[in-house]
């Protein structure tokens, strides 16, 4: 690969997304799961901007901006839920969170 193509960016995006996904699936700490979700969102942004760059388009960049805005709102609510979890059941271990199951 002599030239920089969108394939480079897509491979980076796939690697980051799968790392984040494995973090969500294997970790038990809610905060680390939350950080892994942020990692996956950023991987999607890399793919969007890479495609936009390949197609000489600005639509992908607009969508990435919306993704960042929604991710900011999601992070606010997610961290609020972590605080409520700590206060209500005194743990941030997802294995101990069973309120909806019982």
């Amino acid at each position: 690969m002599e030239e920089l193509t969108a394939t480079h960016f897509l491979l980076l995006s796939a690697a980051l997304f799968i790392i984040g996904m494995m973090g969500v699936l294997t970790r038990r700490n809610v905060i680390v799961i939350f950080m892994s979700v942020e990692l996956m969102i950023n991987a999607v942004n890399v793919a969007l901007i890479g495609f936009a760059w390949e197609q000489n388009s600005m639509v992908g960049q607009s969508f990435a901006l919306f993704v960042i805005a929604v991710a900011a709102a999601e992070s606010i609510v997610g961290l609020g839920i972590i605080m409520a979890l700590q206060r209500r059941i005194d743990t941030i271990d997802v294995a101990d969170v069973r309120q909806l199951r019982e």
Binding site: M1, E2, E3, L4, A6, T7, H8, F9, L10, L11, L12, A14, A15, L16, I19, G20, M21, M22, T26, R27, N29, I31, V32, F34, M35, S36, E38, L39, N42, N45, V46, A52, W53, Q55, N56, S57, M58, V59, Q61, S62, F66, I68, A69, V70, A71, A72, A73, E74, S75, I76, L79, G80, I82, M83, A84, Q86, R87, R88, T91, I92
Partner: protein, 247 residues
């Protein structure tokens, strides 16, 4: 190999290693630091993709706001009572590595065999330079084609802020039926005080009983009265067990 590819490779390798650090670090603070490194590298990659405004937004929103919020939440919760803080599950990690590599292989095969379809859009580097730059073009598109979407995004952010306020409120003010412990509290004999007859205090307690503890009074039945909730303790004033009545 051109300089561009070399710079991209360095940035991508550092980003992936830091992403692995996010997932593998035992201490959540180390995960947060790795996350900051990943975000900064991705911002540099956005600059390489001619998305300068998004690179700035990435630094402001993610590295500046989200990661700092995460670190604040790490301050506020107890992270060291999880079993994985003292070492993860090795079998689970090996399985995760294998499944992740398999998935990465599948996706990489799909990426490497793809071909670009669709006509190229008009925004080449020269066209963007003619229109004034990345920010101007992005703003023009956002406020013409996506004007409704950007207003809905504003509503989403407002609702998120309200949700955070509701979630972070103390639970005692949101849960109905929970009584706050204020006012006069009897801790020497919590059940017998209203029956008129209370057992005598243990022998040798008279000195303690007449002691001058500010805010704490003893009445004739051996009932300890406190003036406010801050003086309430679970242990009795004489350090012994709570007196039990005849019942």
């Amino acid at each position: 190999m051109s300089t561009e590819v070399l710079v991209f490779d360095i940035l991508a390798i550092i980003a992936v290693i830091a992403a692995l650090g996010v997932v593998l670090a035992r201490n959540p603070v180390h995960s947060a630091v790795s996350l900051i490194i990943t975000f900064i590298n991705l911002a540099a990659i956005f600059v390489m993709l001619h998305a300068e405004f998004l690179a700035a937004v990435q630094l402001l929103v993610y590295t500046g706001a989200v990661t700092v919020l995460i670190v604040f939440v790490i301050f506020l919760v107890r992270v060291d009572d999880l079993p994985e803080f003292y070492g993860g599950n090795p079998v689970q990690r090996i399985f995760a590595l294998l499944i992740g590599l398999a998935l990465l292989g599948e996706v990489a095969a799909a990426i490497l065999t793809r071909s670009a379809i669709g006509a190229s859009d008009i925004w080449t580097a020269d066209a963007i330079a003619d229109a004034g730059g990345n920010v101007q073009v992005l703003g023009q598109i956002l406020y013409t084609d996506y004007v409704l979407a950007i207003q809905i995004t504003a509503v989403v952010l407002l609702v998120g802020t309200i949700a955070a306020l509701v979630l972070a409120r103390p639970e005692s003010s949101t849960l109905p039926g929970r009584v706050k412990r204020t006012g006069l509290i009897s801790l020497a004999h919590p059940r017998g005080a209203d029956r008129g007859i209370a057992p005598a205090l243990p022998a040798g307690l008279e000195a303690t009983r007449r002691g001058e503890t500010p805010g704490v009074r003893f009445d004739d039945r051996g009932v300890v009265l406190v003036d406010n909730a801050e003086d309430f303790t679970e242990t009795t004033a004489w350090g012994g067990d709570v007196l039990e009545g005849e019942d």
